[in-house]
Each structure stands twice: as structure tokens, then as C-alpha cells.
Amino acid sequence: MTTQLVEEAREGLRQFPPALAQEFESALETVQPVLEPDELAQWLRDGLDIARHSLRSWEAASEYFRASGPVLEQITYDRMREWCAVGIELMETSPALSGALFRASPTVLPHLSVPQANDWAAQGKSLYKGTWKSGSLSAQYFDVSPQILPHLPLSQMRLLVDLIDSLASHSYELASACLGMAPGVLAQLDRADRAPFLEFGGIVAHTAWVDARVYFERGPGALRQVGEEQRPRYLSLAGQVAMQVGRLGHPYFIEAAQALSEVDKDIHEGLLELSEQLAQHSGDAAMEFIKSSPRVAERLGIDDIARWQEFGLNILQQSRDGGEAFFRLESARGEEVMEALSSRVDLDRVSELIRMYCKALTGVDVGVKASEELTAKGVGWVDESSPTTEGTTIYLPENVERYPTKEENFAVYKVFATHQAGRLEFGSFEYQSQINPELFASESNGTQNGHGTSSGNGVAGVAPAGVEGEAPEIHTDMEIFFDQFEDRRLAHDLFTIVEDTRIDTIVKREYAGVRRAFSRLQQAAIDRRRPVEDMPARQAMVENLLRASLDEIGRIRWPGELAEEMRSPLRVLNRIRQEGATVQDSAAATALLYEWLSNIPNVELDTEDWSDFEQEMSGDPDSGEDSDMMPGSGSSGLEESFMPFMPGSEEQPYDSPDPVDFRGDFKPELVQLLMKLKGETGSGDAPPIPLTKEQLQELLEKSVEISINELMDMDLAESSGMFLDNLLKEVNQIQGERQEGQQAMGDDSTGAEDGEELPVEAASFYYDEWDFRAADYKPRWCRVQEQRGEAGTTNYYAETLHEHTQLVQETRKQFEMLRPEMFRKMKRLTDGEDYDLDAVIEWYTEKIAGGASETKLFYRRNKVERDVAVAFLLDVSASTDEEIQKHHDQRQDDQFDDDPRKYLSWWAQRRAEAARHPGKRIIDLEKEAVVLLIEALETIGDKYGVYGFSGYGRDNVEFFVYKDMDEPFGDRIKERIDKIAPVRSTRMGPAIRHCIWKLQNTDAKVKILILLSDGRPQDHGYGRDRTEKEYAIHDTKMALTEARREGMIPFALTVDRAGHDYLKQMCQDMAYEVVADIESLPRRLPALYRRLTG
């Protein structure tokens, strides 16, 4: 019976393509053994039903057959029928889908239970909209299901399907691509993140569907930057934001995740919580907050960030724009609040303060810069974080954030600076080999001045290096000193300890007020020292000396048996603390210590007897007997006393002690060299000494201060060559600056004849910009590049004067009348120079009449000084290029009589004419007006400056100086005026602010700022977009208001006929004028100026 049924089926399948029959046959083979006969019959019927269902349903049948075997391996036939019923039902919708379902069945089954089939199929079905494209998408759904379901439970599949469905409504290609990517994407995500990821994806698909592909590509990567636990939260936040901000949602998601990767994962939770609070008010603010978090977290801990956020939230609630700017770190308030909350002290905020402080202490012009700047020069200093000085500038770390309050951190800076200033003030770099020490006078013979005079009397181990005879002047005194010692490193370390002790002692004596802060840092420094017990003997001794130098006798650890050996060097060190000790004494003490220590073998000490060292002489440094300071004859005895503690007797390599942070780097040899190279030796007038590279090379090889390896990793020859280049560059630069200075002075005196102005590099200035939406300044928003105007010829100036001879004379006459009379008589005063005769007579008459009451009988001649400074700010934006006499050309056009034969000659003639009389442009009139005004101003002697501005974008506001306030008028100015030419955009705000700055630096009672423009302010990024006018006008208005606040008189003048509308807004209660007839500008400007100042 079975066979019969099979035969019938074969027969039935014959009407279909042979491929189906083949599938049937192979399926039959696997199915037949496992099915009961009635089941088989059912199976056959089902297959035939499917195939016969509709036109292309045979394909589905083929899939049905093929899937049957594998499916039956997993579930019973009953279950399979249940399962297949879903597929058969799908036939009603589309046989192709049904086929896809059957095809996927074997691989899907491990992940789904049979009852879930309906749900699974329904979701696929939902993608099908009856079109071919949707059908293929839906089929794709079934195809990729086996790869998706391992990662995503069916219950969450809905999210993906909705997402795809939503994309499909825009683009099937995109939807299909994303669906294809889905398995890979999901595999990259943690289980818990998958649903939120898809949820956010759904929102992206909704709000910014084009971003979906990017989201699938980059999303998982971006998400990994967020702390593991926080990812779902982050996604839901991103979703919440995206609902508000639409298209920006996805970029925000990527950028904020990037930002989060830059902050510590521990605070992600806190940041997200804060951001969620913001998201309720503004999605932008929430995301900007996260984007700014790396910079904020650099300064603030999470608690302070919360305070900062709270402050911003308040602003946000009042003004959305304000709050958003706050969190974008584009508002001055945001910075201020952060600064106030942070305990960190930044060098750039206090450098001027410290500079003046150091200047006060030392009396010399020291600079204060970040240590990085010195290390970047590559001239021998390598530590970026420690304070140091190279003799003219004090270098400090970029910021200090050691203690919980600003005051304490500033105190750290102060200690750093005071110590370095102390080196300058108390002459650490002024060692001179020929001068005898004060305190160590008795011992100095022989140990000092080793150079040249030999070291005859028993200075064991100290041999002057061979520097004799060869041009000694190239050697610095410090170098000569160190040359005495075989072990330069030891000598240098000892000298550093001794000298720092001396400096610290003097500083604490002279500046009692910093003692406390000093002691605190000393304490901190000593707490960080490595244990002495692990060090070999000599090194331990150096370490102990260093501890003693930090005022911590109590922290010295030393074997009790050898107490005597430690006592002597400590006594030497202590003597340097006496009042009146100089760097010469430090050198002498160093020599003594060196002698002592170089005899200490650097061996491991085999003793358990490390104990705190008690110095009986700990108070009074004077009490030490000079005699026992001399190592004298006992040098061999030293070694002997160590004998019992030297098990292997193995000499260990000597390591320098760890540096002390607040003392920083000390490189006296290098500093002396630099000073010598720069010609700044103590003796003063010695000219800079030209050193050959070879001589420097020699120095370099000897010096322990310069560790080339640290400097850069190259081979020695190359890097030392580099070092030398850097050093020479540094020196030349300083000499160059000097020469430049002299040259500049010479220029002024020789006048303009010798022509060539050096091209001056633009100097940069930074200004805030007013954001009226945020009602706050954007800090350091614009960069103004000041440069001198280009020079042309003086002809233009002369020609303009010639052209306007009449006008020039008129204005000059008018201006001469402005010149103040020296004295103006003021009458009827209660006190004055003398009696005002009229008043007296009147008074007397009244008195006789019996009713005199008037008491104001004096006059005074008051001196009237005209003290006016004015800055003219010309708009030289591109729009000033516009011609203003177009109508003339129009007429000429008409003259052409349409005869083509004559056209060429007519055209040539017209060109020639145009070249001879080019139409006047706005800028030409501006220039003419300026020329006339200058003529007039020169007659009354007001101070004035003429500037132009243009630029493109906020970081490139060009500011041209045609005549600076204090520059005398001359040919140069005339040449520059010739070259005034239209350039680019009109960002008025920063240009006005720069003018304000110019006027601030000018001494005058009346200060006027005249802005001459041809239109409204506009620039790239000057407002939300190029067409927005509000922002630029508000910023300009604010700039003008600032001028007024500074006591200046701002005045805006425009040749834009439409000027009234915005000038009214820009100037409100300030004076402005629209010059209706542009051509009258040259006449109008001087007249106006007269009115303003008369």
C-alpha cells in the first residue's frame, strides 16, 4: 500500500519540473525508514498538496522534501506536521516564503520549540507587503534566522523585525543589507546589550534611517567603549536623545561613546546618570555633556562633575541655548565653574602671578614657562614634570593637583618657584673657580682650586682632568670644578645635595612665610624615599645625606657600628646651613664630602643593625669641630671599618639618589655653559663665546648632566649631534632676538628711506565671542591675527591729495579751528587766580545798596588740553570691492551701435578707458576718506590708528595695521594705505575687541573707536548658518558695548543704504550714521570726526 501511494505521488509529481522529483526521491530514502506507513502517506499527501497549491509552489514543495529528513532527525512526525502546518499556511501568502521557511527549518529547529513556529513565521510574514522586494526581504528573514536565533531569543526578534520593517519603508536595499549584517552584529554584542541595541536601532531607523547601515557597522565597536555594565543604559539614553534631536541622534551616539572611552570606566555610571537628568530637558545638552566629559573629568572628580552639571542644568532650565553652550564648553561660565570647582591649579592661570613673584624675589626678569617647553628644546633637560631653571626662565610643571584644595596646590607651585628663584637669587649658578669660600676657608686649600695649582696635599682620588693648557676660557667654572673629580656623577650628586640644602636653608630663613609649605613638601618627599637598607654602602650614605638635607635627621638609617663614618659627612653638610654660606662653600663642602665618600666602598652591607641615626650635634651647626671633618690620614681606616660588613666585597655600581620633586632638576654645569654661550656670564660684558662643535662635543661627553640616552633613542653620535644643534639653536635664537631688537631700533631712527620692511609674522590674539542665545561668552573663541598692512607706493596718497585739493584745504582749516586754545577763562568762581572785575563791581554796587550776597568773584584760566585718541577700523571685506558707478558703464554700453565690424575696436577702446578710469569701489572711497582724515588729524595732533579687518572663520580674523596708535606718520603709512584692498569676510566683533585693546594701551582722556563698514557683519560660522544675521549683530553690539564700558566712544558709520535696520539694533543707544550718498564719504568722515570731538 505504501508503495502504491509512493507511485501515485511519483505520478503526481511528474507534471512538475524534474528537479522536484529528484528531491522527492532523495527525501523519500531518508524518510521512509523512520515513518510509520500512515505517517508516510500523510507526508506524501502534504508534499503533493504543497506542490499543487499554486503556480510556483512546487519550489516550496522541493524545500519541504529536502528539509523533511533533517527535521525528522530532531522531532517526531507529529511535531513536524504541526511545524509544517505553519509553512503550509504561509503558502496562502506566498509560496516563496513558505519555501524559505522550509529551507530554514532544519537549522532553526535547535533554537525554537515547535509552538514558537507560528510566532517566528508571523514575524517573517509581517515583512511581506505583497511586492517582489518585500517578498525577497521576508525570505531573507527566514534565511538568516538560523544565524540570528543563536544570539537573539525569538521574543526579542520582534525588535529586529520592526527595525528592518521600518527601514524597508525607506529602502529595501538598506533593509536587506542590515538584515544581512544582523547576525554578525549581534554576535559582537554581549547578550544583555542586544535588545537595547536593537531598540536604539529602531529609533535610529525611525529618525535617521540613512544612518542605520553605519549604526550596524560601527555601533557595536562604539558601544564597546562604554563600560560593560552601562551599555544598555547608554543605549536607552541615546534612544531618548535621538527621539528629541532626530538626525543628530546617531552621530551623538558615536561621538559620546568615543568620549566615554577617554574617561575612566568607573565614572561612566555617574556620568550617564547625570546625562539622563539632562536628557529630560535637552537631548543636545545630555550628549554634549558626555562629549565634554573627558575634558571635565581631567579637572574634576565625579562629585564635582555633578556640581558642575547641576550648575549647567540650572542654566539649561532658564535658557536652552545657554545650557547647551555650557555643556559644549563654549561658554565662559562653564569654564569658570569648572575652574572654581577644580582643585587643580594650572600653570597658565598663575604663570603671570608667579612670574611677578619671582621677579620680585630675584630682581631679574625671569620668565615662567611650562617644563615641557624646556624639554622640547632638547638641550639637556628631560623631565617634563619637575621644576627647573636654565638661568633665565623658571620652568614649572603644567599643573599641580596634589592636594584637595586650590590653596594647597598653589602653595606647591609657590614652593617650586621659590626654590628655583632661590637658585637664581642666591647664586647657585655663580660658582667661580678662582674665588675662595667663606666658611670653608681653612679647608679649601688644595681641595679647592684644584685646577692649575695642582692638588698636592693628599687629596686621594681627586685628579684634575687634563684641561690645562688648552684655551681654558671655553670651560665654564662649574666644569672646571667637576673636572677635579674622577667620579663626576658622585661629585654632581653631592654638589646638588649640598647646594639644595644651602638654598632651602636660606629660603626658609629669608622667607619665613613659606616654611610651612616647604616642610610639608619635604615631608612628602621623604615619605617617598626608597629604603636605605637595600642600598650599598656609598649609595646609602648619599641617600642619608639627602635625607638630612630634607631636615630629616630622624629618617636616616645607618648601621650602628658604623655610626662614626656617617657623622662626619653629616657635619659637613650641616655647616652649609650657616648664615653667609655661598655657592663657593657648597663647592668646598662637596669636595670634602667627595673625598670622604669616594673612600667608602660601594658594597652591600651585611648587617642587621640598621638603626635610626641620632646625631648629637643636631641643633647647632657651629659646634662641629673642624678637625674631625677632615678625612685626613684616616682614609685607609675607612675601608677597614667596613671590612666586617663586606661579605662578597663586591663593588656595586653607584646609582644616583632619586630626585626630590620640589627641588627639581639641577644642572649648574649646563646652565653656566648656556649663559656663557649667550654671553651672560657673571662678569657681564664678556662677549658671547663662539664654541666649535668639537668643543661642545667634548663637554657633552664629560657631563653627567646630559644623559643622551634619555634625551632620545638614537645612536650616540647622531643624538649628540642633534643635542648640539639644539643647543646652538637655542643660543643663536637669543642672540638673534637681540640683534633683531637693535635692528628694530635702528629702523626707527633711520626713517623710511631704506625701504624694505621685514615681513612681520602675524601676532595672534584671542578674544571671547558673545553668544546671545546662551547669553554668555564663548571663551577664547576667535583668533585675531594682527599683521602690518602691505606697503605699496606713496603715489596714491599724493594723487588723492591732489584730486581733492579743495576739500583738503577746507577740512584742514576746519580742523585747525578745533585746536584748543590753551586757556579758557572761567568766571564767577568762589576761588581763583584773581578777582573778576565785573563781578567785584557788581558785588560792590550791591553791597552799597545794602544787599550784597554774591560771593563768586573770582576767575580762573583753565587749561584745556585736547587729549584724544581715535582708532579707525575699516571694513576691508570682499564686498567693498563693489563698484559704485555702474550707471556710467550702462550708458557706454548703449553707445555701441551694433555694427559687428566695429565691435572689436569699440570693445578695445572701452577696455582702455576702463583701465584709465576704473569705476570707484567702496574701498576706494574708504581709502580717500582715510587720506583726508589723516591730513586733518595731523594738523590737530590727535593720536590715531588706522586698521582694517577681514578674515574667514573664527580662527582667522585678519587685522591689518595701516598705522598703529603710536606710529609716527610718514611715507611708510602712505605706502600701506596704497595697498588697502578688499579681502574676505566681515567678522566685526573680534576686530572691535582688538581695537579696544589697542585703545586701552593708549594714554588719552577721550578715546574714540570709529567703525567704517559697508554692510552688516557676517562670516563663516558667525551665526548658525551663513544667512543668520542675529548672532553676528549681537556679537558686534556686545563688542561695541564693551568699548563703551571701557570708557571709549564707539561710533559706527556705514555706507550701506540698508544700514538703518541693523545699525539701529547694533548701536541702540550709541551713535551711528548711514552715509546715504557713498561718494560723499571722503567729505563726511572728517566732518563727522570734528563733530564727535569738537
Partner: protein, 298 residues
């Protein structure tokens, strides 16, 4: 000489030529200025004192006035005045920008129904043979130089224009002017024709130890405080021309010293009597305060 019945004159009263110092002013010479001044006075050469504010110029003039003696007898206008040997009267005029020639020479005043001529301080000094000290002379109006010139050369004459008189200065009269080259603008420099009529004594702040001694004496504070104040002043003066127009004057140090002697804490005393008077620039103030806090412990 003023009377309450003349309301117009009550605020114009000078009894200046009578002014003599009763007690010896405290003055510590820094170099040979005393000898120089003495020699100049002996030879009737006017003296120009240069130096920053508050470094002791005025005190020096007082000191000299106290120590210089007038001749015993002088005969003028047929009358013989016998003077006891006593110190010189000192007429001090602080010049300001509205000070005119008639402020110095004198003017008519209305009194009752008639005008009365009142001598100005310079006229009185000329008549009395006093030292006339014009403090900060460049501040005065330029017309005052008209008076100074004939007085300061060999003529020693004061023209009294309004009375059509010329006054010959009495022996003992010496014109002393002071002038601070540091802070005035170039406009207010002294003209060469004026400068070249004087011998000039240059003043500067005394060295640390001397200044400490002065502060201690004047302020009555402890020697340590005085020395620290002097040290601090030295540091602050390093900032001259670098944010500060003038260094901390000895006078300010004395004020600070007095405050401290009254029990004000040193840092606070320095703040109110040195830092704040010196500058309004916040940054500079802080720098100075850091110097102060480095030197004084509390």
C-alpha cells in the same frame, strides 16, 4: 591774621613764614646729601631733590631747615633786625596742577570796603629768608616758572607783578624743589632752562639695613619686623616698571610697621598699608601678596 568777619578770606590763611621746626626731625643720611645741601645753602644755590615718592625728601628738607642757621643780623630798608641764632623757617608748598603763580606770590583780598594785599607763601619765604620747598614742582602750572627763574639765579629777585614790585630775597632764603622723575609722563618733565638752575641731590630708597633702622624708629616696631618690612620692600621694588609704577615707599613701610605695632597681623598690615595703596591691578596685588606671605609667617 584771618578774622571771622571776613568770610571770603577765612579759607585763605597762611602763617607760613613763621613755621619753624621745634624738634629735630629724625633723619638718617644715606650718603653725603647733608654736606651737599649745606654747601649749596652757603652759596645760595637752589637745590633740586630727585627721587621716588616717600623716600624721605620732605623729611630731609625739614632736617636741613632745622640745622641750618641764619646769620645773626641782617640790615635791610634802613632797619636792623637782630635775629637770634635759630633754625630756618620752612615754607612748604605742595604743588598741584592748578597751582598758579598768584597762589605763590600773593593776591588782593577784599576786606571791608577795600582790597588788601596778601603775600603768598613764596613771597613770605623770600621776605623772611626761609627755605621755600616746592614739592612736586612739575605738577604746578607752567607760569610758576616765571617766578622761579629770577629767584634762582644770581638776581634772587621775586617780581610781584600785581603790585609792580620786585623783591630781593633775604639772606637765608633758599628755593628747594622736588621732582619725581619716575612717574610723570614725558609731558611733565622739567624744562632744561629750569633744571639747569639747581644742584641736584638724588634720592633713592635707603639700603635694607638703613631702611629697617628708619622703620623701626618711626614705627616703633620690633627690629625683626622692621628688617622683614625692609626686605619685603626691596622685593616689591623689583617690580617697578613691571606692573608697578612705583615701589613701596619707606613711608608705607612705616605705616605697616605702625599697624603691626598696634597688633594688626603682619600679613594684614602689609595688605592694607602696602599692597592696596600700591596698585589696583588684581594680578599685581596677588603677586605682592605672595611676596608678603613668603616673608611673614602669619
Amino acid at each position: 591774621m584771618t578774622t571771622a568777619s571776613a568770610p571770603l578770606t577765612e579759607y585763605k590763611s597762611w602763617a607760613v613764614e613763621e613755621f619753624r621746626l621745634e624738634e629735630e626731625p629724625y633723619y638718617v643720611p644715606v650718603s653725603d646729601e647733608i654736606e651737599i645741601f649745606q654747601a649749596a645753602w652757603n652759596n645760595k644755590i637752589p637745590v633740586l631733590l630727585k627721587g621716588p615718592t616717600g623716600c624721605g625728601k620732605t623729611r630731609f628738607v625739614e632736617y636741613m631747615a632745622y640745622h641750618l642757621n641764619r646769620p645773626l643780623a641782617v640790615v635791610r630798608d634802613g632797619k636792623t633786625e637782630i635775629e637770634e641764632e635759630s633754625n630756618l623757617p620752612l615754607v612748604t608748598v605742595a604743588c598741584h596742577e592748578d597751582l598758579t603763580a598768584s597762589d605763590l606770590v600773593g593776591r588782593y583780598l577784599l576786606e571791608g570796603n577795600e582790597t588788601v594785599w596778601i603775600d603768598g607763601p613764596l613771597t613770605r619765604a623770600v621776605k623772611a629768608g626761609a627755605i621755600c620747598y616746592l614739592d612736586e614742582v612739575v605738577e604746578a602750572r607752567k607760569d610758576t616758572t616765571v617766578l622761579i627763574h629770577p629767584l634762582t639765579d644770581h638776581r634772587r629777585i621775586l617780581p610781584v607783578e600785581k603790585k609792580s614790585q620786585l623783591l630781593q630775597a633775604r639772606d637765608g632764603f633758599l628755593l628747594v624743589i622736588s621732582f619725581n622723575p619716575g612717574y610723570q609722563s614725558a609731558l611733565k618733565d622739567l624744562k632744561q632752562s629750569t633744571r639747569q638752575r639747581f644742584v641736584a641731590v638724588e634720592f633713592d630708597y635707603p639700603p635694607r639695613e638703613t631702611e629697617a633702622e628708619i622703620v623701626q624708629h618711626e614705627a616703633g616696631c620690633s627690629p625683626e619686623i622692621a628688617l622683614n618690612l625692609a626686605k619685603m620692600a626691596e622685593k616689591i621694588r623689583n617690580l617697578r616698571e613691571h606692573g608697578l609704577a612705583e615701589g613701596a615707599s619707606t613711608r608705607l613701610l612705616i605705616y605697616a610697621g605702625r599697624m603691626i605695632a598696634q597688633g594688626v597681623s603682619p600679613r594684614r598690615a602689609c595688605q592694607v598699608s602696602i599692597v592696596w595703596p600700591l596698585t589696583d591691578d588684581g594680578e599685581v596685588q596677588r603677586s605682592i601678596e605672595e611676596v608678603v606671605s613668603s616673608i611673614f609667617e602669619d
